[in-house]
Amino acid sequence: MAENKNIEKISGNNKVIINGQLQTDADLSQYNYLNLGPTHPATHGIFQNVLKMDGEVIIEAQPTIGYIHRAFEKLAEHRPFYQVTPITDRMNYCSSPINNIGWYLTVEKLIGVEMPKRVDYMRVVIMELARIADHIVCNSVIAVDTGALTGFLYVFQWREKIYEIYEEICGARLTTNIGRIGGFERDFTPAVIDRINDLVKHLPKALKEFEKMVMRNRIFMDRTIKVGGISAERALAYGFTGPNLRAAGVDYDVRVMTPYCSYEDFAFDIPVGTQGDTYDRFCVREEEMWQSLRIIEQAMKNMPDGNYFADVPEFYLPPKEDVYNTMEGLIWHFKIVMVK
């Protein structure tokens, strides 16, 4: 408080008197309000914070998380199952395939159909590729945000390679719509297998380089350790999931606790943090990429023979030659595409 002759402080006691009036805490508040943003921190849509500041310390923040609702629920009310898949792409476009496959697993559970083992393994490969692509974005961008652009460029070309694998599998790169309810529209081609093996062989070098640049970097550590720390109890109370929850020290991974898609067949470790701060979250994601590579390697090595789709003619489009040459194929095609 600035020098003011009308203000008299009673020493040894926090009472303040201004113009003969005893002041309450509310009267004395010297808070500033600062409008931070709107900014674009990660996904599309704006993020605005109205901050209540005491000097440089934030006392309260009132976030507006962005007017980004795209009415997925409303859209899904009006669509057949297979037309919902492209909507799931948009839920997290850094890892669209995981959302696509999550949707397929839901529908397949609903219609009660068992997938061939080969489909499970192919899906695991794609999901783990997507996990790597997503973690590459998270981890390289936190490095950019803390002042290191180079590492970002090192690993981003590998995200590009993963997109090339998606492209080879399904024709799309970002919003993938990968696979179908009931399996895949086609098997992995030799080109896909080559690209995946190439990635598993060469990504570790880039990842090591990236870790060498960032992980023990003094500036990076100063800017992330003890920043944004969350305790395990708080993380659970606030509904954290995934790597953020594990970084807070909760050893929960749904792939292990409730294995889906044959995850029980693979050996992998679950990294867990201790502090729950930004650095722990970074390290958990970093280690998860290594574990994802392990899973992909195992899945590619042990890829079972068999069909790449299940026998669900009500949902899985018949091959084109069947549509043109068999009555049954034509009927199923008609029922899937024309009848709603």
């Binding site: 609702h69 009415a71 929960y252 409730t258």
Partner: protein, 169 residues
């Protein structure tokens, strides 16, 4: 653990604790679904969280639903709970009339419910009493309606540039 927590055990424990509050218990695709009344929902959720064996410590999801044909019970709130220690998930359902869309908040049990309840308020108009800050979250403040209620069409009915026949409808 010798006392393995499965759906049958949860069902019997809940029935025993709340004999009058349970309207029905169903099981769909292996997940237990407890249907109760809004007068009892908070106590049941709190009990499920604090029960020494069940320990449903995690609120996975909370959302609204609208069944316009379900006269007198048009609106619903669903709570998805997850017990990490037992690795069991359950659902708790409540139904209530659309002209009295008031439910007690559970933000004091799980802070995670804060934003979820705001979203449910925003999109279904369900008011949560006891919520510390019940404002819209994803729609603008002055939207004036709750867009996920079934009476609102997918598209703006006044538009003339979108003819159904071009969209296969």
């Amino acid at each position: 653990m010798d006392n393995k927590v499965d759906n049958a055990l949860i069902e019997s424990l809940v029935q025993e604790q709340f004999p009058d509050a349970i309207r029905g218990i169903e099981e769909h695709y292996g997940m237990l679904d407890i249907i109760t009344r809004r007068e009892n929902s908070v106590e049941i959720l709190q009990w499920l969280k604090e029960h020494s064996l069940l320990q449903f410590n995690f609120l996975t999801s909370l959302c609204g639903m609208h069944f316009p044909d379900n006269a007198g019970e048009e609106l619903s709130v669903v709570y998805h709970l997850h017990s990490f220690s037992n690795n069991v998930r359950i659902r708790v359902h409540i139904f209530f009339p659309i002209n009295d869309p008031v439910v007690r908040s559970i933000t004091h049990i799980w802070p995670a419910a804060n934003w979820m309840e705001r979203e449910t308020f925003d999109f279904f108009g369900i008011k949560f009493t006891g919520h510390p800050d019940l404002r819209t979250i994803l729609n603008m403040d002055n939207l004036g309606y709750h867009p996920l209620l079934k009476q609102y069409p997918l598209e703006d009915g006044t538009r003339t540039d979108k003819e159904d026949k071009y969209f296969g409808r």
